[in-house]
């Protein structure tokens, strides 16, 4: 009698533990995050210390996060830019994911390294930050996107809404299908190519500036004030400000095919 009663208590306690388990993933390669309001637009907010982030918009309503694992570098004092270090040790594989009011937040702190692949609904704003090094890819999303990283390439395709992208060392390649009306865009790096494709009919005031590279535009910029490394003026009559700025890289403003 006593035995069966204590077993019951243990079972109930275990069930309760499972039910109130926080959004924490242990040794799992994939986890699904439900949104508070699946019908509405959401936001993905990721900040990692090092690694790659790959975000893709899809037709579902959940956010699906998968990752290869979270690694510590062999020596956490060594240059964190060295991604090979992740082969050495795999200690803590927990990934903290939280969701509140349609904002999904993932933070991976120093000195851990992670490679993330995240599927989000199409109407999602993507805010990604990489404090050291790694590449970032974003595709098929509509929202206000902000990408910033210390080193690595940024590749964005089939994008709608607005974009602010910055990397210190690395290329920026962005293709936009449509731009939120009246919203500025900005792309900047120190070294590396900046290549941005915008809709044919977009009205904007553009400023393409590079110190040591060359600025190029497929759009007719009026009144064109060009000095090889600087192009400023209006496209399609003018509108919101678009800034493309580099120190050493070439800049290409293209028409989205």
């Amino acid at each position: 009698m006593m035995m069966s009663r204590s077993i019951k208590i243990i079972v109930i306690a275990l069930l309760a533990l499972i039910a109130f388990k926080p959004a924490k993933c242990q040794d799992k390669k994939e986890m699904t995050v439900k949104l508070t309001e699946p019908a509405k637009a959401g936001k993905l907010d990721v900040e990692i210390f090092n690694g790659t982030i790959n975000v893709v918009g899809y037709s579902g309503t959940d956010v699906i996060v998968s990752y290869k694992g979270i690694y510590y570098p062999i020596n956490s004092n060594q240059n964190p830019g060295n991604i090979d270090a992740k082969d050495a040790s795999k200690k803590d594989s927990n990934l903290d994911v939280s969701q509140a009011d349609n904002v999904v937040k993932i933070v991976v702190e120093k000195p851990r390294i992670v490679d993330l692949v995240i599927k989000v609904p199409r109407n999602f704003s993507v805010v990604l930050k990489n404090l050291t090094a790694g590449d970032i890819k974003v595709a098929n999303v509509n929202g206000d996107h902000e990408i910033s990283m210390a080193a690595g390439n940024i590749t964005m395709s089939n994008i709608s809404g607005s974009v602010s992208a910055h990397t210190n060392k690395g290329n920026i390649k962005v293709d936009m299908n449509s731009v939120k009306k009246g919203t500025p865009l900005a792309f900047s790096n120190v070294g590396g190519i900046i290549e941005v494709g915008l809709p044919l009919t977009l009205k904007a005031n553009v400023k393409l500036q590079t110190e040591f590279g060359k600025a190029n535009s497929e759009f007719d910029v009026e009144p064109k004030s060009s000095a090889g490394n600087l192009i400023t003026g209006k496209i399609n009559g003018g509108g919101a400000e678009i800034l493309m700025k580099s120190i050493g890289g070439d800049i290409y403003l293209r028409k989205t095919k």
Partner: protein
């Protein structure tokens, strides 16, 4: 005293206001006392003298005279009034008659009147427009300051670009822009803010803020962009800060280093 009483008594007697006994007493005294008789005659004389003054009867003759006098007076009055009007009118119309020597006086008078009309009617209207435009500007500034707090980077850029639409920028806006330049965690927002502030560099506070910001920036891109701005504004005060960056960041990208060195060189030769 007795004399006065006596005189009153005599007057009363003469007017027949005494009682029978009093009258007899007076008549008795008249007969017996010589002094009384003398007094009596004296009073009687005065009384009769008074009685002589008679008001003449107002005959028809007198009335006619008076009327004639009155008419003459009225006529004279009326005549003198018309004369006054006429002379005033003459003076006034005289002013309107063209006279060369009054040309300047007229012109100045008209100018003054015109100026007064302008002041009374046009000035308030213009100030209403000014008020409205000031209100609109204030509203824009408030919107801009609110937008600067937005968590989305592109919205903050929009706020910064909004300053191009303001015809006047107050200290609040400048402080907010300088704070954004120094503390916003988005590199692109800081870049856009720098562009906006360079356009406001006529304001000495902005210039000072830009120079002070050089050492606050930890990214190469911002440091180079600020160096560029300093060159554009010919701001020699920035040389020390730019040299400090070159000294303290030896592992800086070669291109950035070259650009900074060039800028310092150019600024020093100004």
């Amino acid at each position: 005293m007795e004399n006065i009483d006596l005189e009153i008594k005599i007057l009363d007697y003469l007017q027949g206001r005494l009682s029978e006994t009093e009258r007899k007493e007076v008549e008795g005294l008249q007969r017996t006392s010589q002094a009384f008789t003398a007094k009596f005659n004296e009073v009687k004389q005065v009384w009769e003298g008074l009685d002589i003054r008679q008001v003449p009867e107002t005959g028809p003759e007198m009335r006619t005279n008076f009327k004639a006098m009155l008419n003459t007076f009225e006529l004279e009055q009326a005549h003198s009034q018309t004369n006054q009007f006429a002379s005033t009118w003459k003076k006034l119309t005289g002013l309107l008659v063209y006279r060369t020597r009054y040309n300047w006086a007229y012109s100045i008078l008209l100018l003054i009147i015109g100026a007064m009309i302008m002041y009374l009617f046009l000035k308030p209207q213009r100030s209403v427009i000014e008020d409205l435009s000031q209100q609109l500007n204030d509203k824009k500034q408030t919107i801009m300051l609110t937008m600067l707090e937005n968590p989305t980077a592109t919205e903050r850029m929009k706020a910064v670009n909004y300053t191009h639409e303001l015809h006047t920028v107050n200290d609040k806006v400048i402080n907010a822009l300088l704070a954004t330049l120094n503390t916003d965690d988005n590199e692109n927002v800081r870049l856009v803010t720098l562009d906006a502030l360079v356009k406001l560099a006529d304001n000495p506070k902005v210039r000072e803020g830009l120079v002070a910001s050089i050492v606050n920036q930890d990214s190469e891109l911002m440091q180079i962009a600020l160096a560029d701005a300093m060159l554009q504004l010919q701001e020699k005060k920035s040389v020390r800060s730019l040299k400090k960056i070159l000294k303290e960041q030896p592992d800086m990208n070669d291109m950035s280093k070259r650009k900074l060195e060039q800028t310092v060189q150019k600024l020093e030769t100004i």
